[in-house]
Symmetry: C2
Subunit: 251 residues, 2 copies
């Protein structure tokens, strides 16, 4: 079992890392990603599921726009998970999630995910602790199902933002005309539960790390995006994919 | 682990059971079922998943028509599972199944199911044995997910038909005008694999009985239907359901 103390993990880019240089490297990686995603689609053998979790304003939307938005949308799907609809709530918590599991050849990005059911629901005590622990088990089994039965690689990113950076970004939404559409009164109430969310996340990392979590310092957008793009690039490369050869008249 | 030898289990109604009397009792049970299903729908707390498995011509369609067809279709759904489509084959084998898991208050009938992936695919050696055993585990985890996380009761029926009865029914399809639409040339080839299917079923009963199988002697339709209707009735009764009380102005 992995054990983390979020208060002891940096939310900022390492000091020795140069911002401009990193941004230039990100551009190179995005070019590689475009090619690799095309190959993934062409080979039709693997699939990639990217789970993005993090507090409000931790920058999930930004990663989707600036990293996954650079790939061919034919092979990339993004699914946000908000409060369950009435129909979704009438099923087990993984029902709506499973429907969006990636098909072979596809990249699927989850903006929030099944982990909300062991985070927001736990922090607000909408479900009892026994249910939470049963859900941890169900989540592990579900992720193994995808990995073992459809060759799906699951990448789980936690966008690790400091309380100060979060508050600053939420404040921006109250006066920046281009960000007002993101404003949600409730976010400020949720932000007050920061410590409780950290605790709930630490427990997720402890109990749901059969497929490991990647903790991404998220106070600097440029570093966060670089790290995620690089991880996705390295993951796709590790598949050692090849374009299928022409097979004429073999079937 | 449950252990079964299908060759030692009767495919016929017990001799002491009277046909006419049983048919009359079935009628009574169908009336009860109608009420119970209405209560299930009204209470909106439980759901019931009925898995129907059995060889070709074991009478799955008949049960659906004569038992589940007597309930209110508003609260009963039937889903047949045939050879996977291209889109389904691009996902894990439980992807298409999970989508049809019953919502709260509903009865869902599977005409064939996820078990085909450890039966037909195994008998024809389309997948290796390691995969089959991994699928057994995934199936158990999936059924637990439904049971534990959506209050779904899973009833698994195996319609146990003799080789002789099966062959007779398949023959009927070649000359009875009302049954010809069911004729499929391939069924006769599959019927030759009878013993291999029994062996594959025995292994399913052994490895996937966390939620137990109910083996239904299926050579006599009247007895098969009675037994299934009775089991469903007893199961629904065991939920001890109540109509919700009127709550005015409480929310």
């Amino acid at each position: 079992m992995a054990s983390y103390k979020l208060s002891q993990i940096s939310t900022t880019a390492p000091e020795k890392i140069d911002k401009d240089e990193t941004k230039a490297r990100l551009e190179d990686i995005l070019g590689e990603l475009d090619d690799l995603q095309n190959l993934l689609y062409a080979e039709h053998k693997h699939s990639l599921l990217v789970v993005l979790q993090g507090m409000d304003a931790s920058g999930k939307d930004g990663v989707i726009r600036d990293v996954f938005g650079k790939m061919n949308p034919l092979g990339v799907k993004v699914q946000p998970f908000k409060a369950p609809t009435a129909e979704e709530a009438d099923h087990d918590f993984l029902w709506r999630i499973h429907q969006h599991a990636p098909a072979k050849g596809m990249v699927q990005v989850f903006n929030r995910s099944h982990y909300e059911d062991v985070l927001v629901q736990r922090v607000h005590k909408w479900v009892d602790e026994e249910t939470i622990y049963r859900r941890f088990k169900a989540i592990n089994a579900f992720e193994q199902l995808l990995a073992q039965h459809n060759n799906t690689y699951v990448l789980k990113f936690y966008l690790h933002v400091s309380q100060e950076a979060q508050m600053q970004r939420l404040e921006e939404r109250t006066h920046d005309p281009r960000k007002m559409w993101k404003y949600n009164e409730k976010d400020f109430a949720e932000a007050k539960l920061f410590k409780k969310y950290w605790k709930a996340y630490e427990d997720v990392f402890k109990h749901c790390s059969k497929i490991p979590w990647i903790i991404v310092p998220a106070d600097h957008n440029w570093y966060k995006e670089y790290l995620i793009a690089k991880t996705v690039r390295d993951t796709l490369k590790s598949f050692k994919m090849k374009f299928p050869k022409l097979e004429v008249g073999k079937k």
